[in-house]
Each structure stands twice: as structure tokens, then as C-alpha cells.
Symmetry: C2
Subunit: 424 residues, 2 copies
């Protein structure tokens, strides 16, 4: 027969098993970050290669493809390490689903590369294909962040996800600006996309620094050197404010590319630090939980608590200040004995788990903006038969026309859901 | 090497394992409901016994104690069946923590009964002790509902929890009203508590019927017969509106007790139906998921999908309407081939899991009101050194004074958190 103490021990063991999983997930997420970085470079070089009609950049591109492949192997190995056989809860189903989707994308990469090598696809289409794969990989990170049950680790995962996503927007900003300067002519559509990438990037980076540790905040602060940021901001202004149809200085192509690349490279150092911090955190949490468990097990050995043994102070003691509601006494004036009883331990555990739950709710709420936008996009896609790109563009256009934030538009779209005609 | 298909299969297996756990949890939750009902009766009989100074109701009380004990054994057996050894995720830690706390309460029951048998405790104190144990048991149901990952099952669990909680408020309403009629004199404090029990009860039952199936709604509708409800409402009005200090007709004690008991017994039939529906739902979900899994496994056998096999349509096909954002194509005009490819399956799965996630968020939101109130209570307890009862009373008083709902007051309390002096 299991005793109350055995459930306390089971709770700690469950935490430890969960932390071991989160440690593997964190490794996976770090590997995905590295692969995404490599794919971003591969995308950039593929663009240059396509732009030169296959005359230049072939060697650089091949070298980068080799590097991407090596990093992809690391991601596949990390997938391999995930405990899929013994998954005893349904919580992992969504993560596995995202992984299956990302794997489909990775397996289609060789053919994409072949098409690029033979200059069969346009730069636009190539950029879109790489972006789709990167989004599929970020989807895995999103799910990992959303399904983590430890608030501190979840907070780090959300920060990491936002950083990766911000970096991807920076990459798309670079590509869009490069195309504009190369064309030598401003056009409203590209300018609007550019603005979207800049704004979304800043929002992601803001969420990340809000959630990250002071060390990461300092690192990111230091990485943004004014002498590098200033020329970027100047070129951003030129790109965004030139009237549609107006001339853009093609000579700025290279400075623009370099300024963006410097920014993205600086991001990479912060990203690596975030990934390292995440893994360190998992180790620390594992150690401290293992210590707690050892203490409980010693106690179990010495107490030999039998099921049915009395917990005489359960009804006697006064409610303790700070105890979560629903777990407190009726306040009848008695005090609990001062020696740490099993009941004290049970309450301490309950208090800790409740505060973890509260914190987790708060962290998850930061994922909700993304969820809301994705949901609204999905709704538009379903009801208006739009592609994802078109749905996003539609919402962005609504936001600009109404001078509202994207999230507000998304909420309005969802609120309309009931009056939309059903699909089919 | 794992393939995308193997992750699809792992996702389904994970769901099945999770559903098997949820089925056990649902059984546990049903057993808790039965035990709570028995403890409510035991509390009522203990009150009558104490009120008669041990002269009457002894036999009835003993019989009820025996029944409670039998039901408690069933709950302990359900605890026993939970898979604590193999819990591979951290999600179960909070559930186990709540169980440990509830077990402490159950192990203290024999001594509580002894004190009642010897008329050592007042009725107030006895009622408070039983209420504390019942809250500890409902805490297990709360955690089960909050940690369920399947939205439909979670919805049923939340409905069940709200029904149990509403029934407990009805039980407390009966006890409070009985004490008032027995005293023959209205007093503002008890009247306020009575109002609180009525209002909270109605809120819980409303949440339950909002979430429950039409069959349950109909059953609950039918259970509330006007000819039974009318006298109850009349006595409620008398209890709540008699000026403090005014006389109450002691002869109404028995009719009040009977009317409340009829209501609670009617609730019991709905509760049993809810518990049965929950278990039926688990079986259905298990069957259909097992069918899906079998289909995937047949496909795996026939496809022999190798890792690294190409998914040529990943970058080619157009975004499909209705596909979740982030999982859709770039909308480049191509159509996917019409035969169901692996990619189609992956997307179908992603779509399903995403919509499950959305639904789950919505269901969990209904638990948030309770969480908010509990959190605010905990905060008051910590900062003002109040017992749980006192904290709840304080918030109720604030709500009455300001003519606001309890949830609004709770939110205001939490918003004040930053300006409250820290404890110690």
C-alpha cells in the first residue's frame, strides 16, 4: 500500500524524470538553433549564387551545404535520443507531431538544393522554401517551450524561441532589403514586408530580453554597438521611406548586406549563450531535485511511515500564512508542532508546486500572442481559402489600414469567427 | 534511425499511453466523488449527533462511517493503481503532491471520528474539519483536470470538478442554514456566509452545465423540479433577508434540512451520470486512437519509409486551406498530389493536434477563475497573516462592500501584490 510519503517521493521522481527529458529537449533545441543558423547562411549564399546565375558563390555555397548537413545530422541524432517508446503521457504527442513535420522538410532539402544548383528556382521561391523549413524547425522549439512543465526552464525556452524567431526575422529583413537595393527601386509591397520584419524582430527580441537572465541582457546590450547599429538604422530609413517607385542606390547593396550580417552574427553569440544557460539550468535543477529526493528517501527509511498512520495535526493546526489556499487549516487557533512533520513536508511541497504552477501560467501567457496570431491566420486560411503567406499579408494590411497592432487584428479576426461562413 | 512516420506513430502511442492514464485518473476521480458524498453525509450525521449531545443518531452515524471507510478504501486502491514508478514526465508531480496531502487528511480521520464520538469538538469545528478534508480531496480532482492534456476529457473533468464543488457548497449551505434555524436568530455573519455558499454553488453549477454534454444538462434540468425548488427558495429568502438579530422559526429546521437534502441527493444522480460519461469518453477516445495507430502501423509496414527518403512535395504544394499557420506552404500555386502521402498525414496530424491545443487552452481558461481566487487568497494569507477562512471572508466582505464579484476582487488583490509589504 502506498503512503503519503511514497507519493511525495513519486512526485520528486516524476520531477527528476521530467527534468531529464527537459535536458534532452534543451539539447535538441540548441541543435535546432545551430541548424537554423546554418540554413540561414545557406539561404543567403543560395540567393547570391542564384543572383549571379550560378557564376559565383558555388564553392562557398557547397561548403555551407556540407556544414548544414553536419548540423542536420546532429538534430537527427537529438531526435533519436528522445524517449519515444516510453512516453507514458499524452503531453509529448504534439512535440512528436511537429518533429515529424520538420523531418519531412529536412528530407526534402536535397532536392531543393539540386534545384538551386541548377538555377531552376527563383530567389523568391528559394527564400520561401528555406523559410518554410526554418519555421517547421522553430515549430519544434515552440512546442518544446509550450509543453515544458518547469516554469524556469519554460521561461528560458520561451526566451530562446523568441530569440531564434527574432533572428529569422533579421535574416528575412536582410534578404528583402538586399532585393530592394539590388532592384534599385522602392516598391510599397516589399517596403511593407520590410517594416513587418523589423517590427516583428523587435517584438521578439523584447520578449526575449524581458524573460532572459541579466547576463543575457547585458550580452545582448553589449552586442548592439552603436557604431554598427547607426548605419543599419540609416539604411533602414532609406529603404522604408523612399516613395514607392522611387530610386534606391544599388551601391548600398553590399553595405546593407554587411550591416545586417554583422547584426545576425552578433545575435549568434547571444543565441549560443542562451543555449548554454538553458543546459546549465537543467543540470542545476536536476541536482537540487535529486538532493531533495535523497532527503525524502532517508526520511522514508527512518520513519517507516505506514499507510493509515495518523497525521494528528491535519485538522488541529492553524492555517499557516503563505500556504496556498485550499491547503490551509481552518484557522482554529492551534499551532502545529515545531518539529518538521510529514504534514509540514507535504505542505511545503504543495506550496512549492503551486507557486511553480502560477509561474508557469505566467510564462505560457507570453506564448499566447503567437498562438493568437497563428490561430487567426489559420482561420483566415480556412475560411477564405488563403495560403499562409496571403493570410499573414491580409492581417498585416488590416493592421496598417486600421493603425492597430497585429495582435489586435488577430483578436478581432478570432472574435469574428462565429459570423464567418463555415468551410466547404 | 527514426523516420518522420516513426514520430507520427510515437505521437499516437504517446496519446494512447496518456489516454490510459486519463482513464485511471477518471476512475480515481469518480471514486473521490463517491467518497466526498459519503463524507458529506457523515458530516451531517456527526452534526446531528453532536447537536443531540450524543443521545441520538449514534447508530446512523456509525453505519455511515462504515460506508465512508469502504469508499475510502476504493480511493486508496485507485491511488495504488496510479503508475508512480514509471512517471516519465514532470507533469504528474503536482497531482502526486495533492494526493499526498489528501492521504494525510484521510489518515487523520479516525481521530476526528473519535473526538466526535466523545463529543469533544463543537459542530463548527467538526464541520470545518470535514470541509478541509473534502477540499483536499477536491484538490486532487482540480489537479487531474488541470493536468489533463486531452481537451475533451479535460472539459469533462472540469465539469465534474465544478459539479462536486457546487455540491459541496450546497452541503455547506445546508449546515449553515440548519444552524441558523436551530439558533432561532438571524446573524449577519452567518447570513453572509450563506449567501456566499448559494452564489458560489450557482456559479459552479453554471460552469458545469456550460461544459457538460446535452444529456447531462437535460438530466440536471429534470432533477430540479419546481415543486422541490420552490420551498427551498422560500426558506433561502427567509434566511437571507431576516434582519440581523431578528427571530427565525426553529420549526423550519427540519423542512430546511429535508429540502436541502433532496437537492443534494438529486445532485448525486447527476454526479454519477457525469462520472459514467467521463469513463465512457475515455474508452471511446482510446478505441479511436488505437484504430488510427493500427492504420499508421500498417502504412509503416507497407511503405518501409526510410529516413532521409524524400518528401518532394514539402516545398512544392500550395498551402492548404485550414492548415494551421506555421505548417502551411508558401502558396506558390502548386497542388499536392491527390493520393494521401506521408506529408498529408503529417499535416493532418499537426492540424488535429493544433486544434486540440487550442481547445485545451479554452477549457483550462475556465479553471483560471478558481486559480485567481486561490492565488489572491494565498496572497492575503501571506501578507496579512490570515487563515484561509479569514482571507476568504475578507475578500467576500470587500466584494459586498464594493458591490463587485469575488473574481474582480481577487484580480484587484493580485494587482495590488506589488505594493503589499513583503512578509517577515
Amino acid at each position: 500500500m502506498k503512503s503519503a510519503l511514497s507519493f511525495l517521493i513519486a512526485a520528486r521522481r516524476s520531477e527528476i524524470a521530467g527534468l531529464q527529458r527537459l535536458a534532452l529537449t534543451s539539447e535538441l533545441v540548441g541543435a535546432i538553433g545551430r541548424l537554423v543558423h546554418a540554413l540561414q547562411r545557406e539561404r543567403g549564399l543560395s540567393n547570391l549564387y542564384l543572383g549571379s546565375r550560378g557564376q559565383r558563390w558555388a564553392a562557398e555555397r557547397s561548403a555551407q551545404v556540407a556544414q548544414s548537413e553536419a548540423l542536420q545530422d546532429q538534430v537527427l541524432r537529438a531526435f533519436e535520443q528522445l524517449d519515444t517508446d516510453a512516453a507514458r503521457s499524452g503531453h509529448r504527442a504534439r512535440l512528436f507531431g511537429r518533429i515529424a513535420y520538420a523531418m519531412q522538410g529536412m528530407s526534402a532539402l536535397p532536392r531543393l538544393r539540386e534545384r538551386v544548383a541548377q538555377c531552376q528556382w527563383s530567389t523568391d521561391r528559394t527564400v520561401a522554401a528555406y523559410a518554410r523549413l526554418i519555421q517547421a524547425l522553430l515549430g519544434v522549439v515552440f512546442e518544446a517551450a509550450d509543453s515544458a512543465w518547469d516554469p524556469e526552464i519554460s521561461r528560458h525556452l520561451v526566451a530562446f524561441l523568441n530569440f531564434l524567431q527574432g533572428k529569422e526575422f533579421a535574416g528575412q529583413e536582410r534578404a528583402t532589403g538586399s532585393a530592394l537595393f539590388a532592384a534599385g527601386r522602392a516598391d510599397a509591397d516589399s517596403q511593407q514586408r520590410l517594416l513587418h520584419f523589423i517590427e516583428s524582430q523587435e517584438r521578439c527580441l523584447q520578449v526575449c530580453t524581458d524573460l532572459a537572465s541579466p547576463a543575457i541582457r547585458d550580452l545582448w546590450q553589449a552586442a548592439q554597438q552603436p557604431e554598427h547599429l547607426m548605419p543599419l538604422e540609416r539604411m533602414r530609413r532609406i529603404l522604408c521611406t523612399t516613395a514607392s517607385g522611387g530610386t534606391l542606390d544599388a551601391a548600398l547593396s553590399q553595405p546593407w548586406f554587411d550591416a545586417c550580417t554583422r547584426r545576425i552574427d552578433a545575435m549568434k553569440t547571444v543565441e549560443d549563450a542562451l543555449a548554454a544557460e538553458l543546459q546549465g539550468l537543467c543540470s542545476l535543477r536536476l541536482e537540487s531535485t535529486a538532493r531533495d529526493l535523497a532527503g525524502l528517501e532517508r526520511m522514508a527509511a527512518s520513519l517507516r511511515t505506514e499507510p493509515g498512520q495518523e497525521a494528528p495535526d491535519f485538522f488541529d493546526d492553524a492555517a499557516e500564512p503563505g500556504l496556498p489556499a485550499g491547503l490551509a487549516g481552518a484557522g482554529d487557533g492551534f499551532r502545529a508542532p515545531m518539529d518538521p512533520s510529514l504534514l509540514e513536508l507535504v505542505r511545503e511541497q504543495a506550496r512549492r508546486l503551486q507557486s511553480m504552477g502560477d509561474e508557469l501560467d505566467a510564462v505560457r501567457a507570453t506564448l499566447n500572442e503567437r498562438k493568437t496570431i497563428e490561430r487567426a491566420k489559420g482561420l483566415l486560411m480556412a475560411h477564405r481559402q488563403l495560403s499562409e503567406d496571403q493570410a499573414h499579408k491580409t492581417m498585416r494590411q488590416m493592421a496598417m489600414n486600421q493603425n492597430r497592432r497585429l495582435i489586435d487584428v488577430a483578436e478581432a479576426v478570432l472574435a469574428m469567427a462565429e459570423v464567418l461562413p463555415s468551410r466547404g
